[in-house]
Symmetry: C2
Subunit: 359 residues, 2 copies
């Protein structure tokens, strides 16, 4: 209402000028505590008192100080974000999203590196004992049995991101890996490719299996037979991609398109093709998955599947906060699936009329 001239408090130079709960109390002739009760809609306040306080609040145009509130009351949540060594590009996007959301939700994010190996136990336990409220696990940690077991054992609320097979005790954010792979293969079939090679990912990561399923599904729905020979094993590393691509191109009847389970292996495939004198995409179509930085670094730029990484990490933070701040009762474990996008760049094309001549 009225501007109500508040006389500037003398003394320290720190006052902000905004009315405080004490100002309200003085005006209403009650104690600050009572004002707090009114603000928080607690029951045990007589109506007459409540009305007086409310009047004072209106008159001063008082609004509680959020900082003071969270300091005194509910403690600030701290979420742990453990990462191993995903592609650096993945991590940075992931961080941007999660930090952004952490700011919005007013929670603190503790980011820590956790190499897979002997130290993982130590790192995770230190994080737990340092009083973290919940943990977010991006790949590849989201599929680490060891890490998951420690967290689940300690009943730490956890959100796994981009795993193909989330443990029942964890919340999960993911994309439809299977569907995405299927879409890519459909695309290749649509382009006219008949023999389509596939480079599988690290079998320890559940997403690998999902992507392979998608490949098979697309073949099946097009009435194509599944040819064991056209699937090579990979580990998601560039180096493994080199071997896998060699294996596929060495075949009697090599594929005219190769779909690698991630961009690193797709890049390796491009390198192998070039070494063999094959033009990409003229002689060989190569597609990746992830839309990592590498996809646009190399030449030709890769046609690949884009994951909304930042959105996924944002969602992970939000979900975790929901689980932690959510009232008492049922910790509704939720799963969430975000949309992927097929990005066409320069590494795919229709196959030549005749299969390229092997040199």
């Amino acid at each position: 209402m009225t501007g109500s001239t508040r006389k500037p408090r003398e003394g320290t130079s720190r006052q902000t000028g905004a009315p405080t709960i004490s100002d309200v109390a003085r005006l209403a002739g009650v104690s600050p505590m009572t004002v707090s009760r009114v603000i928080n809609a607690e029951r045990n306040v007589r109506n007459s008192t409540r009305d007086a306080v409310k009047a004072a609040i209106d008159q001063l145009n008082f609004a509680p100080n959020r900082a003071a509130r969270s300091l005194a009351g509910a403690s600030q949540l701290r979420l742990g974000l453990l990462y191993s060594n995903p592609s650096a590009a993945y991590l940075s996007e992931f961080l941007v999203g999660s930090l952004d959301q952490a700011g919005r939700s007013d929670v603190q994010l503790v980011v820590e590196k956790c190499e897979l190996g002997d130290h993982e136990r130590e790192v995770v336990e230190r994080m737990i004992s340092s009083g973290i409220d919940g943990v977010i696990l991006p790949p590849p940690l989201c599929d680490s049995r060891a890490v998951l077991d420690i967290l689940i054992g300690a009943s730490v609320p956890t959100v796994v991101v981009a795993t193909g097979c989330p443990p029942p005790q964890c919340a999960a954010i993911s994309i439809d890996d299977r569907g995405a792979a299927q879409a890519m293969v459909r695309h290749l079939i649509g382009l006219g490719h008949v023999r389509i090679g596939f480079i599988a990912g690290n079998p320890n990561l559940t997403a690998s299996g999902r992507r392979l399923e998608g490949y098979r599904a697309a073949l099946a729905e097009a009435g194509r037979a599944f040819d064991e020979q056209l699937v090579a094993d990979g580990l998601f590393t560039y180096r493994s991609g080199l071997d896998a691509a060699d294996e596929l191109l060495e075949l009697e009847n090599p594929p005219s398109a190769i779909f690698a389970s991630n961009d690193d292996m797709a890049a390796a495939t491009v390198a192998v093709a070039h070494r063999r004198g094959l033009d990409v995409p003229g002689d060989l179509t190569v597609c990746g998955f992830d839309d990592s930085a590498l996809a646009t670094t190399i030449w030709p730029e890769l046609t690949t599947i884009h994951q909304p990484i930042a959105d996924m990490s944002r969602a992970a933070v939000e979900m975790l906060v929901g689980m932690l701040r959510g009232k008492r009762g049922e910790a509704v474990i939720r799963h969430m699936t975000l949309d992927y996008t097929l990005i066409r760049r320069q590494s795919d094309a229709a196959p030549r009329q005749r299969p390229p001549v092997r040199i």
Copy 2:
């Protein structure tokens, strides 16, 4: 280090478990006030003290409580991080470092893309008028005259990272690009290489010039003549590296080693070598610069110069915070040079007795 059992404080049930400034103080053997000073990058703290406190902060994984902080009076700083399109790997590391430090210093980092071109003015001005307190410029923006002029004109405290030639009005973090390049070429000479090719970087970036200087200096100190032909132009992109490498390997008398000004171009050089049937490092030694993720992604892994990118961005945030929060009037503009490391991997070797036969 050790897990340091933090004893649960007794008393009220309100404690959160998160380490506080007092925990850090106790561990470091100083007063809480001193810890506060370190966090806020204030000046009057002895280096030894600062280091001890930082160690304690790391050990406890401490991050200040925002609520308490804003209650106590400190306003939250907002720093702008403008980026254009450096190598994606570079950016991600840069982000990891700066976001981490931003969390520790409790400043908000506003990350925004600023493509070089017509819009730069718009983007920068928008950022300024949105009330940003300071700006961090990683390459290549750190060398953009246009962007710098706007910022300097508006007297926005700015830290440039990894430029070869920082404007006097800005603080700067860098490594010794010239010395690093010189060290690498010295290494190649030591290996026995005589004809050493060099792929220059984008001429708009001052660091490019520094690296070329280092190349020439190493040659000069070894009493080798400088051969114009052995220097090819590049732009720091993979694609430009493809062309540059082709140019060098096309020479009548091609080099037995190629030193590219960054890893992307070195990776491209490896690809070209392979396409030409050259073994790396058997027939051709290839070295890069930056130690980006790409260096260890491809095969063979690149011998390169490691820049502590994350540390540099961390330092940039810290320095900016110091300039902004530091007491004592005059903003002492500082420059800081961090150490580089020559990392030997699998892409370098002594030259063959005779130059490889061209196919």
